[in-house]
Amino acid sequence: MNSLFPILAIVRKDISVWLRQPTSIAATVLPAIAFMVILYFGAQAVGRNPVALVVQDSGPHAQELINILSDSGAFKVTMITIAPQKAEDALRQVKVAAVITIPSNFDAAYNAKKPDPVTIHINNLNLDFTNDLRRSLPAAITKFYADQSAINGNNSPIQIRVKETDLRSQDIDLLRFELVPNLVLLLTTAGIVNAGLATAREWEDSTIKELLLAPISKATIITGKLLSGWITTLLIAAVVLVVGAASGYLRPAGTIYWISTLVIVLLIALASAGLGVAIGAASHRFQRVTAIGIPLSIDLFFLSGGITVAAFLPTWLQTIAHFVPTFYGTHALQMAIFYSSNEGLILDLSVLGATAILAGVLGVLSLRKSMLA
């Protein structure tokens, strides 16, 4: 009980210093809000490349293919023209990603069962976009034949039917999926940088002397420092979670998944704050904290599936990712928020719990060693 008040005083002091600097708060919280806004706009366009259609045949089959391409989830048809040059100009000026040309003899060749090529001119800048386009036109052609089958009975020449079974109840769009690793990135950055700076500040401003001369134990100082770093990180997490839940982008379905989400966030924040205190106490300098903390957070972000699905990474990278604690945090949050699933939750929580304890111990040892030195 005697230690409680000094601990709370240290927490209050650190948070007050943090709160007295509106630029620091804004700079820490605004990226999360900026991310949300950017991802919201970005989500409108992902996976739908703009294409131009050059239609040189007005026959019914050509019209049918145009309708399929226009309704396709893979394309965003931004131009329909009969002038090939106009479409090629748009391609050259990077206004469209591809030009699809339906030739003048399309219907005639189809009816005569002669080779009937539909040309796609792709701006093959990178494989991600290019492969999307490559796959999308055959998908539209398959749909065209399937529709012929529906119109003419079972007369479609394509007799292979795809029966899809999904393992998850819903599809999650890419940018929404990436919100979770971004949240984890924010937690690790905020924890490591804020707790690290709050600790290093005591040495830079020489206030560590006053703390050491105060009639309180070293354990009290250490606990206060860890707690203030943890609370600061949780304040940032709270903003992200509230905005995420309000917008529907990060909203766990049901109380049980809200609880698991909060426990995971608490553990990641604690581990980050512990690590931040350890780095701050060991380095004693602002610049060293950021030089170590920021690249570390970004590396953890990439290794935990920051820009892709970790499960689809190359095997050697997956092996490395399995030794990264944020990988488990990201996985657990994605399962709880998107799929209402407890898949792997015990393992995820065990790893995060162990990491939080380890980081806390590391923070304690580092701070203790620095105070004794």
């Binding site: 620091s24 700079a27 996976g47 990603a97 999307d132 079972n154 795809v162 699905v309 499960a311």
Partner: protein, 263 residues
Amino acid sequence: MLRQGKQAQLRVVLNNLEVDFTNDIRRAVPLAITSFYANAFPNQVVIRAHEVDSYSHDTGYVQYLVVSLMVVSVMLGGLLQAGSNAAREYEKGTVKELMLAPASLWAIQIGKILGALLLNSLSVAVMIIVIVFLIGVWPDHWDELFAFVLLLMITFVALGSLIGTLVRRRQAVIPLSIGLSIPVFFISGAFGPAIWGDQVTATITQLQPVYYGIAIFQHAFHNFTTTSTSPAINGFILAGFAAVIVAISALTLIAGRGRGVVH
């Protein structure tokens, strides 16, 4: 079954974790089916996709992305280095000595920018070595690479200096730099041409230098055009950004000469 005219069912079990990967599979299966028919029953499935590519070879996702990452690294490095240096002058009170020195404030600010530029050039050199020799992305235009990497460094070092002069605290400079760099990276066409995305983002992104930086570097490395404007125009726009930011940075120092030290 197919030769007898009977229907065959192809069962596909999908781990639909997220829609981008899932749709890749959804579209790849019809592609495989039509390719199969094109070979096995060429007279039945007559409509084919005939592909023509704008570039002679495909560029991998990593090879494309690494160039965009280089631009944002130059930005982050410049902001952090110059911003911390400028803020440190206020935190330590040494800004008073600078102000009282018998030199113009323009000279002081340009000197600080040059200092940060030299320090920043070390990390940029390492980054270029990694991209070229380790990842194996060989630039098509070395002259463009060196000219514009310098221009980009000047732009972001000046911007960092401006931020440091304005906020005067390293603790604020660091999250601000990161907070600025990451969203800007995402909206500037890091993964593909920004103008293929939604119109709001595509319009906003054209108001900041990273958009033009990525376009110029994609041209320098891969000979790609990723913006409606030509590489030469992009270069002029980037030079304009650099000049304006350097001027604002110096003017801010002059305007803030009476503000003193941070306690």
